[in-house]
Amino acid sequence: MKLQCKHVWENVSEYIDQQLDAQTLKEIEKHLENCEVCSAILDSTRNILILTADNRTFELPVGYSQRLHNRIAETIGKH
């Protein structure tokens, strides 16, 4: 049976996390070989996640660490 694109989309997340069972994985890989649409969706999702984890995407405010440790020192002092 030919796998539908929709079925692939439903499994994108688990595919990325390598949590699919062997049979589904095989079917999806076969589908991806011939489907540019699904390949693009998979690649884009994967790239978005790489970028999400990139340290430059979410940055800490300047001086955050210093202020945090000052506050901790203050609390510890009172303890």
Binding site: S13, V37, I48, L49, L51, F58, Y64, I76
Partner: protein, 209 residues
């Protein structure tokens, strides 16, 4: 760099034993994680910083209740997510604030954006500051239920079990919400990637790009 589990255990024991100054060292590897977990949820730097300080102070005060069978990082994230949720609830209670409606079971449109003329994001696109800004906004705009899972799994890179435990939900729910969150992000981000990707030079152009 995070201390090994053994070193961390020893640090905790020493802090509890009275060497309280060592608490600074204990939490240093997790400063970023705690701040970002709250920031992504609240979308406000000042509140997030304030929240992160509260989390660390709470962690210090309740360090005794930390059980060695869980990871210290997971314990901290649990406190951080509770702090974020609490602050979100407070913000929601304030009449002038309007937050995104959360509808857990909405059988919404979770299909990805289909990009027929798009293939792979070139690494230069990933280097673009505007893309990172768009992504940050896209994450921040996710409904909180989905966002919290995505933040822990894809930003903090916690595993499924740790995420489930930090949020007090089961693993199946983690998977479902994560999938939806990722699809929402993909859908939101796809047009921006397209705009910075050089227009395709026809099918055979791909091999030479």
């Amino acid at each position: 760099m995070a201390a090994t589990k053994e070193e961390e255990k020893e640090l905790i024991a020493r802090v509890l034993g009275g060497e309280t100054d060592l608490f600074h060292e204990l939490i240093r590897p997790y400063e970023r994680m705690v701040y970002l977990s709250i920031f992504a949820m609240l979308r406000n730097e000042t509140d997030a910083e304030d929240g992160a300080q509260e989390v660390m102070i709470n962690a210090f005060r309740h360090l005794k209740s930390f059980r060695g069978d869980a990871k210290f990082s997971t314990w901290l994230v649990t406190i951080a997510m509770n702090e974020a949720r609490q602050r979100l609830r407070k913000a929601k209670a304030a009449p002038q604030e309007s937050l995104d409606e959360e509808k857990e079971d909405r059988e919404g449109d979770f299909t990805p954006a289909v990009l027929t003329d798009w293939r792979e994001i070139p690494s230069e696109a990933l280097e673009k500051k505007e893309i990172r800004e768009k992504l940050r906004a896209a994450v921040e705009e996710l409904p909180p239920l989905y966002k919290e899972v995505l933040v822990l799994r894809d930003l903090e890179e916690l595993n499924q079990e740790e995420t489930a435990s930090a949020l007090g939900i089961n693993i199946t729910l983690v998977k479902v919400r994560l999938h939806r969150a990722r699809m929402m992000l993909q859908k939101k981000m796809a047009p921006y990637f397209k705009s910075v990707t050089p227009s395709p030079k026809g099918f055979f152009g791909r091999a030479f790009q």
